[in-house]
């Protein structure tokens, strides 16, 4: 039983991974909200609720919120993981995370070309292709983070007991 740097890394990443899972769930909910919110404006009591509700900037708000509050922290936290595992010489874990790291880098550098910091462009968000893609992406990430959460848990215990 030894508390090594690697064990510390795993412990920290466990906590952060929980945060990531939380972020991604938030994203999934936000995209779902965008997609379905207006499809069922069923309100039997008030027939004009569909018109009345002030939703003028909802899409813009959601996109900005996802981009600024969720995506940038998510990418940086994941980058921190990779850095930590590299320092701790945990090559296997690093190898598992490298593809996602490259995907994130690719995503980041292929933002809308007009120099904005917004990852999700509100004007093209409603395009069915893009919305579908984003939804799928966030579901896949959710799966990945969940699996890696358990993997980190296992690895932490393993490093703690193996020395």
């Amino acid at each position: 039983m030894a508390f090594t740097f690697a064990a510390f890394c795993y412990m920290l990443s466990l906590v952060l991974c929980a945060a990531l899972i939380f972020f991604v769930i938030w994203q999934v909910i936000a995209f779902d909200e965008l997609r379905t919110d207006f499809k069922n404006p069923i309100d039997q009591g008030n027939p004009t609720r569909a018109v009345r509700r002030d939703r003028a900037s909802l899409c813009v708000r959601v996109c900005m919120r996802i981009s600024v509050c969720l995506v940038v922290p998510e990418y940086s936290i994941h980058g921190l993981f990779c850095l930590m595992f590299m320092c701790a010489l945990e090559w296997v874990t690093l190898g598992l995370n490298i593809p996602l790291l490259f995907y994130h880098l690719w995503r980041y550098f292929h933002r809308p070309a007009d120099g904005s910091e917004v990852m999700y462009d509100p004007v093209s968000m409603m395009d069915a292709d893009i919305l579908n893609y984003c939804q799928k992406e966030s579901w896949c990430k959710l799966g990945f983070y969940l699996l890696s959460f358990f993997y980190y848990l296992y690895s932490m215990v393993y490093t703690l007991v193996s020395y």
Binding site: L34, R35, D37, F38, K39, P41, I42, Q44, N46, P47, T48, A50, V51, R52, D54, R55, A56, S57, L58, C59, V60, W106, R107, H110, R111, P112, A113, D114, G115, S116, V118, M119, Y120, D121, P122, V123, S124, M125, M126, D127, A128, D129, I130, L131, N132, Y133
Partner: protein, 965 residues
């Protein structure tokens, strides 16, 4: 945003790399005679290319002559075809649509629906159902009777080398009868098909209800070998196909001018749609100027309780009280309130909502988030040195002064002005001031509104001050030395000024914005203009304009951009301000008040229309469709607020929209699907109104039926919009490949799925025969062409136009109409309001059709060119142009003199008729063979080869190679 490369269901513009192809002209002769499939119908079919010496074979086809006999009902057409039967092939012989060609006298109301009062009678209703084609059938009927002048198809081409061999062989005789046989527009064609004499065998098969593949295919599906048939253009305008609905439903269907679908027969499943390789989408022109529009005032508007669809002609009434929604199939109770009952009057079928596919409701207060806004207009004018040089201020101020009373609005109408150079100037027009007071804000980093209350003033109260300002404005800046231009801060100021109310901002800009936020740098490299490689910089350089546009959209402000500039202005960035705020872009390249008088006139005319046209404020448009279909993408100028809702701060009658659709669930149990577009807006009079359009289309389950209902113009329009998106998100070459692939895929799909008998050559169904031509025209369009020198701004402007123009104008832009006008006759002419308007035939866009001893009019939507040949008949030159001889034609001539001769009257009547058909006045350029404008005339000759692009024939050979692979 990274575009996922997943092939979308409805998106057939695929980005497969273009296969290397041999573009050399193949000298292989046309393979065999025309396909025998239709030989019984068309004995007189000219066999197209390379039949120099063969005389026209036989009499004109019965296809053509059979229109004339009139009301003879087809022998095999059972009366039961009037009712819709699910199992029936929907494109089966439709019921006799129109017994006989209507007499000439009815032409005046052919373009307008009859008044709603008349809708009760059977006969006007039936006539209205065929508004769009009755006019045309009449026209072609008249033409058929008319003798074609012998010089019609005279081949030229002597002085124009580089025509492919097949084309040079074209001689006069085959072309004239070719025109005759091909002169049937599609819907009339379906009718004439029924009336064509049928052999006993065919009659038997038709009566026996056998599959249509064994009997004659309908006209729309007639297989045409594109390589052999030359004269594909109909003489009149191309008419959209009529959906094969039961007559009583079709009579109620929305006009194709407002609502068109690329496939008038909707495929049952997505896999069927994928197999057909045709894009599925809608083209909308929702706020079109309409002469007859039923308006309903009611305190309650009947809508479906679950999906909020407005009641429309296609709902099913179960009994007096209950109706079934045609979009979500929920059964609704009619009994809602006492007022509604009064309105019902016991007879739900009589309601105007149920009798008209297009209707306008005056909305009650529940449809308002706030009191309806007044009409607010803000003009933002560039007054830097460059702007003053161009002299546009005079024109704009004068036009405004003249049309001030035409601005739509009521007593609450407000108006304001902002000018800017390196600072932003406001004008205090408060009532009581003796003259307008100018306020200069030089802190452009943090713009503020000096006196928020008095900058936007009530037009009727402060009219004198506004007029004073407009008179004085051009002189105020004549000696300015300020060259900088702070567009961004000026727009921010406009946004702040209009935020409380919303309204329309008209920005006049003449140069690249250089200071303050939103400053841009020149990105165009003039040496790269003709590059055959990819065109960079089609995407905006900054997101400032997009963000501002989204803010504007949230505050119900639309920004219209008028760009008058000779230099590069980075329209790709600037256009964002209009694109996402539902404004419009107008571009006048190299505008100058002295050097370019044609542009001045164009601006004056455009402004007159712009100022006086209808406008709707704070509007939203929702497009609903039957359960199972879903909206994939929108095209146009707007901000998409949710999957089916567009936010349109302003709506004007000159903007169109396209919607890509996909099929999410199989439409197995349905015979028809419906689409409904509802536009909620505030009129300039402060009324909240809802304009509802409903379209109903049949569902089919075979490939042949899908192809039979393909609307080639709508497909081209949608493909163009998709290609614009593609060239912005991916690259221009990608978009070009996608266009070519779209043509290849659909023809290949037809070959493998829709064609019953395999034929050699490049076979297309008659309804898609123009697709390759339109695709080649698109590839040579300013927006997508490569290799030809094109300024980046002009390219981007063309892309903007393709995205938001209504289909009718977009088609002219893509494929202009060419007429020979030196021999106009009154034969086949139509008469509208005591004017006789000659109807010359539309010629192919090929230099071969030009002749030195004629003169030709090209109508490219926004510009008219009158090309006068060197040896043009002196009669025409003196009688129409009013000059003694050819050499005396001035270099720039934009008006035809009003001469009192028959030729002049005819020509002017024709030109003014063309002009009346569109909102913006097209300028006429008279050009001689050596005019500088000749190049812009010749660039529209899309069937010819240029140094960098294939000719139409070569393109067909390329398609053939790919399709048959």
């Amino acid at each position: 945003m990274s575009q996922p490369s997943v092939g979308s269901p409805a998106n057939h513009v695929t980005s497969a790399p273009s296969q290397p192809s041999r573009y050399g002209i193949q000298n292989s002769p046309p393979q065999g005679p025309p396909a025998p499939l239709n030989s019984s119908v068309q004995p007189g079919q000219p066999s197209g290319y390379g039949i120099q010496n063969s005389p026209p074979q036989g009499p004109p086809a019965p296809l053509n002559s059979s229109v004339q006999p009139g009301p003879t009902p087809p022998p095999f057409n059972p009366p039961s075809s009037q009712t819709y039967q699910p199992g029936r092939q929907p494109f089966g012989p439709p019921p006799p649509l129109r017994p006989a060609a209507p007499p000439t006298g009815q032409l005046n109301n052919a373009a307008t629906p009859p008044p709603p009062a008349a809708a009760k009678q059977e006969v006007p209703g039936a006539e209205r159902a065929h508004i769009h084609n009755s006019f045309d059938a009449l026209e072609s009927g008249g033409r058929n009777a008319a003798q074609h002048p012998p010089q019609m198809g005279r081949a030229v081409g002597l002085s124009y080398p580089s025509l492919p061999p097949g084309y040079q062989n074209m001689a006069a005789p085959p072309s004239a009868p070719g025109m005759q046989t091909r002169s049937q527009p599609y819907p009339a064609g379906a009718q004439s098909f029924q009336q064509a004499p049928l052999g006993p065998a065919q009659l038997g098969s038709a009566l026996g209800g056998m599959s249509l593949h064994q009997s004659q295919p309908p006209e729309a599906l007639r297989a045409i070998n594109l390589l052999q048939e030359r004269n594909l253009l109909p003489q009149g305008p191309v008419t959209p196909p009529v959906p094969c609905l039961p007559q009583d439903l079709q009579r109620l269907n929305c006009s194709p001018e407002v609502f068109r679908c690329t496939l008038t027969n909707i495929p049952q499943t997505q896999s069927l749609l994928n197999k057909a390789k045709l894009p599925l989408g809608l083209l909308l022109h929702p706020f079109r100027d309409m002469s007859q529009l039923p308006v309903v005032t009611s305190s309650t508007i009947v809508r479906c309780r679950s999906c909020r669809t407005y009641i429309n002609p296609f709902v099913t009434f179960l009994d007096q009280r209950r109706w079934k929604c045609n979009l979500c199939y929920r059964v609704n109770e009619g009994r809602a309130s006492a007022s509604q009952l009064v309105h019902y009057d016991g007879e739900p079928h009589k309601r105007p909502e149920v009798k008209n596919p297009t209707i306008e409701f005056i909305a009650p207060s529940e449809y308002m988030l706030r009191p309806p806004q007044p009409a607010v207009y803000l003009f933002v004018l560039d007054v830097s040195h460059n702007a003053v040089e161009t002299g546009y201020l005079d024109t704009v101020c004068q036009s405004l002064l003249d049309s001030l009373s035409l601005l739509p609005g009521d007593t609450r109408t407000k108006i304001g002005f902002i000018t800017f150079d390196s600072t932003v100037h406001f004008y205090n027009l408060q009532e009581g001031l003796s003259q307008p007071q100018m306020l200069v804000v030089s802190d452009i980093e943090d713009i503020f509104i000096p006196t928020p209350d008095s900058l936007l003033v009530n037009l009727s109260e402060c009219k004198e001050l506004v007029q004073d300002l407009l008179k004085g404005l051009p002189q105020m800046f004549t000696r300015t030395l300020e060259t900088q231009c702070a567009l961004g801060p000026a727009l921010q100021a406009a946004f702040k000024l209009l935020s409380p109310t919303g309204g329309r901002v008209s920005v006049f800009q003449t140069q690249l914005p250089s200071v303050g936020v939103g400053a841009l740098k020149s990105r165009e490299d003039p040496n790269q203009r003709a590059s055959a490689k990819d065109i960079p910089h089609l995407t905006p350089a900054t997101d400032f304009y997009k963000k501002l546009a989204l803010d504007c959209s949230g505050q119900q402000i639309a920004v219209d951009l008028f760009l008058l500039s000779g230099q590069y202005c980075d329209l790709a960035s600037l256009a964002c301000i209009s694109k996402y705020s539902a404004g419009g872009v107008h571009y006048y390249p190299s505008y100058h008040h002295l050097h370019n008088p044609a542009q001045v006139e164009q601006l004056q005319r455009d402004l007159k229309r712009y100022i006086s046209r209808k406008i709707g404020f704070e509007s939203v448009m929702r497009v609903r469709c039957t359960k199972g279909l879903s909206i994939h993408t929108f095209h146009g100028n707007f901000f998409v607020r949710s999957t089916d809702l567009l936010s349109l701060p302003n709506i004007n009658p000159d903007s169109g929209f396209a919607v890509q659709m996909s099929i999410e669930e199989n439409l197995v149990d349905m015979q028809v699907v419906s689409f409904q577009a509802a536009l909620l807006y505030t009129s300039s009079k402060g009324e909240r109104r809802i304009r509802v359009h409903t379209l109903c289309l049949p569902v089919v389950n075979s490939m042949a039926d899908i192809f039979a209902g393909a609307d080639v113009q709508a497909i081209t329009g949608l493909l163009a919009s998709m290609a614009v998106d593609r060239s912005v998100t991916a690259s221009l070459s990608d978009a070009r490949d996608a266009l070519v692939n779209a043509a290849i895929d659909s023809l290949r799909a037809y070959r493998s799925g829709g064609l019953s008998v395999q034929q050699p050559g490049l076979v297309a169904p008659a309804c898609l025969r123009l697709l390759p031509l339109y695709v080649v025209a698109l590839l040579k369009q300013k927006a997508f062409r490569t290799g030809t020198s094109t300024r980046l701004d002009e390219r981007v402007f063309a892309m903007c136009q393709l995205k938001y123009q209504p289909l009718a104008y977009m088609m002219l832009m893509i494929h202009p109409a060419l007429y020979r006008v030196d021999n106009l006759t009154d034969e086949g002419a139509i008469s509208i309001a005591d004017r006789t308007i000659p109807q010359p035939a539309i010629l192919q866009l090929s230099v071969e059709k030009l002749s030195r001893d004629g003169s030709f009019l090209m109508d490219s939507g926004s510009v008219l060119y009158l090309w006068v040949g060197r040896n043009c008949a002196p009669n025409f030159i003196t009688q129409v142009l009013g000059v003694p001889n050819y050499t005396a034609i001035p270099q720039t001539m934009t008006q035809l003199p009003e001469l009192d001769t028959a030729e002049s009257t005819r020509t002017r009547a024709f030109i003014s008729w063309l002009r009346e058909q569109r909102p913006f006045y097209p300028i006429l350029h008279v050009i001689r063979e050596e005019s500088p404008l000749k190049a812009s005339f010749m660039q529209h000759m899309v069937e010819d080869r240029t140094e960098s692009a294939l000719s139409y024939y070569e393109f067909l050979l390329h398609l053939q190679q790919q399709v048959n692979k």
